[in-house]
Symmetry: C2
Subunit: 146 residues, 2 copies
DNA sequence: GCAGATTCGTTGCATGTGTAATAGTTGGAT
DNA sequence: ATCCAACTATTACACATGCAACGAATCTGC
């Protein structure tokens, strides 16, 4: 038949990507969830503020591609728990500047260290494979789409 | 400082994996959603039944790693829309055998063709990179976790 | 100045999700 | 035979999600 093409679900890139992403996400999730009671979006917002300093919600959206409602809700929870502060921009009173508190920075540094170790462990697990090529390909796949 | 380690969120493997997976999933989603009104989990169940024939919900869970409630709900919707039939196992009346209808098989063949083309397009986009190595690494990452 | 379009961020709503509890069935130990 | 543990699949519930609508503030063209 014409459609007895070689097609294996286990080799289909979107499927493989999802499996790998979900596995590593669930695995790493236990860290920030267990230590700080954070959810995935809160961890992401925390990391952006930790890496780039003071940002608005829109800045974070542009950099991360996260949906604005996810950011809004993550910021709300992070503020309640005193991981960040919100300061209204007096030049443009629609915008709010977000900045980590000392507690937020401490959590960021702690989690960053763990993330780095975890990343190293993944790279080591891949052994003699070309991890740099993997990152390069993932980046292209992430940036590519319509 | 000790924690001025080189750490870049954009290179963090779980983050990159998520970005790439979400991008390709959203992109491919438009196909099965647009053509058959299917959701992601329904597409996955359909593919498993299309590739491996008659299976129970537990079989699909073991092969796919999908959560059992996702499978239960996907099967429900696929059955309502006449993509599959459910047959109680008379030897073990807890289990149900799931099988694609002619309509389900037609949808599967159609989507499989599109999936293959899409996969080929992704591979071509990665150009001279080693796509086989990419699949190998993703598979190891997916299988590895705790 | 002013009206309409645009932007920032939040919220209402319908839908999707995982955890835990459930009903029904089977298998195993005594 | 009977009781209890294990298994299959579904459902209830609380929570996360994305879309659309929204209020407030700003910008644009005139």
């Amino acid at each position: 038949m014409a459609d007895q093409d070689t097609f294996d679900l286990q080799s289909f890139l979107p499927y493989l990507l999802n499996q790998a992403a979900e596995a590593s996400s669930l695995d790493f999730q236990s860290v920030y969830k267990g230590r700080y009671g954070m959810l995935r979006n809160e961890w992401r917002v925390l990391f952006h503020l930790g890496m780039y300093g003071r940002l608005t919600a829109s800045d974070i959206r542009d950099r991360s591609g996260l949906h604005k409602t996810k950011i809004s809700r993550a910021v709300q929870r992070l503020a309640e728990r005193r991981f960040l502060t919100r300061v209204r921009d007096e030049q443009d009173r629609r915008a709010e500047h977000l900045e980590l508190t000392a507690q937020g920075q401490a959590a960021y540094r702690d989690l960053r260290k763990i993330a780095k170790d975890y990343d190293d462990a993944l790279a080591e697990m891949l052994g003699d494979e070309d991890v740099a090529a993997l990152r390069r390909m993932l980046l292209r796949l992430a940036q590519r789409v319509s």
